[in-house]
């Protein structure tokens, strides 16, 4: 296992070291363990945008939950600024695939939710929430309820909620997989703008190779059963990323390369399974 070299003076923003995670399944009277993550290590620096792709079942969502502290690993550790993570913290925020909004709360109250939990006074949290609602382009929808919004709008509420907590790292779990193609491209652009404006560190899980390459500085490719990192690809495409970037030959090359690795990973895990 390669542990990323850590400069003792300035530790990376986020370091994931040799994570092991097993899920247990009841089979009749016994339990069997299914290894989900096996020795996953990753290092992300301040302000970086890193995508993680992999076949379904490779544990990428589990990895994200371990980084957030929602799930505890059996082995390995997660460090933020060199400090060990033991549970969810205000330095990280998650944008969920299923949006994670509360149907009985208006847009404003949903965005305020995290601040409310922290005990921020009502007036202050409303100010912060309104600002972030405006930033994601939902001004005028403050008093709407989630069931009155489209999928894309709901996810923007999810963004606004994460942003209003002012985290250093934003963890995104396939945030655009439940919205349609056109909305997805608009949301991608909006996210990139927000990223370049705020310079947050972003870990972005997706199952779309195109999206992974288009959005990130670096693409982490995972393999399945057990989940592990197969390769990391640096994306040397120019910023700002606009739709023209997708037409560049270099974009096609990186995309094709990522697909090759992904395929190899899928084939290998199939062989591993056959051998076992």
């Amino acid at each position: 296992m390669t542990v990323p070299t850590v400069d003792a003076a300035t530790p990376p923003k986020l370091a994931v070291e040799n994570i092991q995670k097993t899920f247990f399944k009841s089979v009749k009277d016994d339990v069997v363990g299914i290894p989900v993550l096996n020795g996953v290590s990753l290092s992300v620096s301040q302000g970086e945008f890193v995508s993680v792709i992999g076949p379904s079942g490779c544990g990428k969502s589990t990895l994200l939950r371990i980084i957030d502290g929602l799930i505890q690993p059996e082995g390995g550790r997660v460090l933020v600024d060199g400090r060990i993570v033991s549970g969810p913290g205000s330095d990280r925020a998650v944008v969920f695939q299923y949006f994670g909004l509360y149907p009985w709360r208006s847009v404003l109250r949903n965005v305020e939710f995290g601040l409310e939990l922290k005990g921020v006074p009502a007036k202050e949290r409303q100010e912060i929430a309104l600002e972030n609602i405006a930033q994601v382009g939902l001004r005028g929808f403050e008093n709407h309820y989630p069931h009155e919004l489209s999928g894309g709008m709901r996810q923007r509420v999810g963004f606004a909620r994460a942003l209003s907590l002012d985290p250093q790292i934003i963890l995104m779990d396939e945030p655009f997989s439940s919205v349609d193609e056109q909305t997805r491209e608009l949301l991608q652009e909006q996210l990139l703008e927000l990223w370049s404006a705020t310079r947050k560190t972003i870990l972005f899980i997706t199952h779309s190779i195109d999206e992974a390459v288009y959005m990130a500085n670096r693409v982490v490719v995972m393999g399945a059963r057990p989940g592990r990192i197969v390769e990391e690809i640096t994306v040397d495409l120019p910023h700002p990323r606009t739709s023209e970037v997708r037409a560049l030959p270099r974009f096609g090359e990186i995309r094709a390369h990522a697909w090759e690795i992904l395929k190899k990973g899928i084939r290998e895990s199939a062989e591993l399974n056959a051998a076992a």
């Binding site: 969810p88 509360y102 009985w104 409310e116 939990l117 309820y145 069931h147």
Partner: protein, 272 residues
């Protein structure tokens, strides 16, 4: 082009209006037939078995005017509402605790399930021995019938409050108390209401049985009194009020359900 479309739409609208009117006519005719049969049947049957429908209408008017009906209804409703209120408060609380704490569920779950399946009216004789002749045993039997659907539904609600609602709160570092107050409590309201909807009908059964067999008060008391003196015209009056109360209270709960949890409605529309 547009005019032909407009024509087609107008034709469709007319057809729909026709269907609606026809259905209404059938329904009205169907129910009118019942009252007609009642009226005619009453004319040719000895009065101790059935009085014609118009006699019941007159009896309704008379009992309303002399205040008998109002007193009885107020009496019954206060028992029913007290029983339902107790059921909602304790049912929701027990369901919440059972869903949230596995050990508590293990402790009282078997008894809740057992009593839900038991015809609890069987306990009425002993309740009236223990709680005397006033409202006590009546409220108790209403609660014994009405509380279990609320407990079960609330419990099911807490269990189905999925990761989708819990995970974001945990990720934003909510305390156990915050999760209970801000996530679980609002999430289970629709389930509590669904339980209450079932409880209204069961509660009315409890109420009537209580009024039959403990001190004979309220609408159930009137019913028994008229039945035992063969006053068949008057006898239908409390029955009608009870049906109306059941229907009215259930509709009220449905209305409340839509007001308190409008998102559930949309979810059902989308077939989720």
């Amino acid at each position: 082009m547009t005019t032909s479309l407009a024509h087609a739409a107008a034709r469709e609208a007319a057809a729909r209006r026709y269907v609606k009117r026809r259905n209404l006519a059938i329904r009205t005719g169907s129910i009118a037939l019942l009252f007609l049969a009642w009226e005619i049947g009453g004319m040719f049957t000895p009065r101790i078995f059935l009085a014609p429908f118009h006699d019941t209408v007159l009896a309704f008017w008379k009992l309303t005017k002399d205040g008998t009906l109002l007193t009885a209804t107020a009496n019954s409703l206060s028992v029913l509402l007290a029983g339902l209120a107790i059921s909602v408060v304790f049912g929701a609380l027990l369901g919440l605790l059972m869903g949230r704490y596995l050990r508590f569920n293990w402790m009282i779950g078997p008894y809740v399930n057992g009593l839900y399946a038991t015809p609890t009216v069987a306990l009425l004789p002993v309740l009236s021995l223990w709680l005397g002749l006033y409202a006590g045993p009546k409220i108790a039997i209403v609660v014994l019938l009405a509380i279990f659907p609320i407990i079960k539904n609330t419990y099911a609600g807490v269990i189905t409050v999925g990761q989708e609602l819990l995970e974001p709160a945990v990720s934003m570092r909510a305390s156990e108390f915050q999760i209970a107050r801000l996530v679980i409590a609002p999430a289970i309201i629709p389930f509590v209401m669904a339980g209450l909807r079932l409880s209204v009908g069961r509660g009315i059964v409890g109420l009537v049985v209580g009024e039959f067999f403990t001190a004979q008060t309220g609408l159930g008391g009137l019913l028994v009194r008229y039945a035992s003196s063969f006053r068949t015209a008057e006898m239908f009056v409390p029955i009608i009020v009870l049906v109306a109360a059941g229907y009215g209270l259930t509709s009220l709960v449905v209305l409340l359900q839509q007001r308190l949890a409008p998102w559930k409605e949309t979810e059902r529309d989308q077939g989720l």
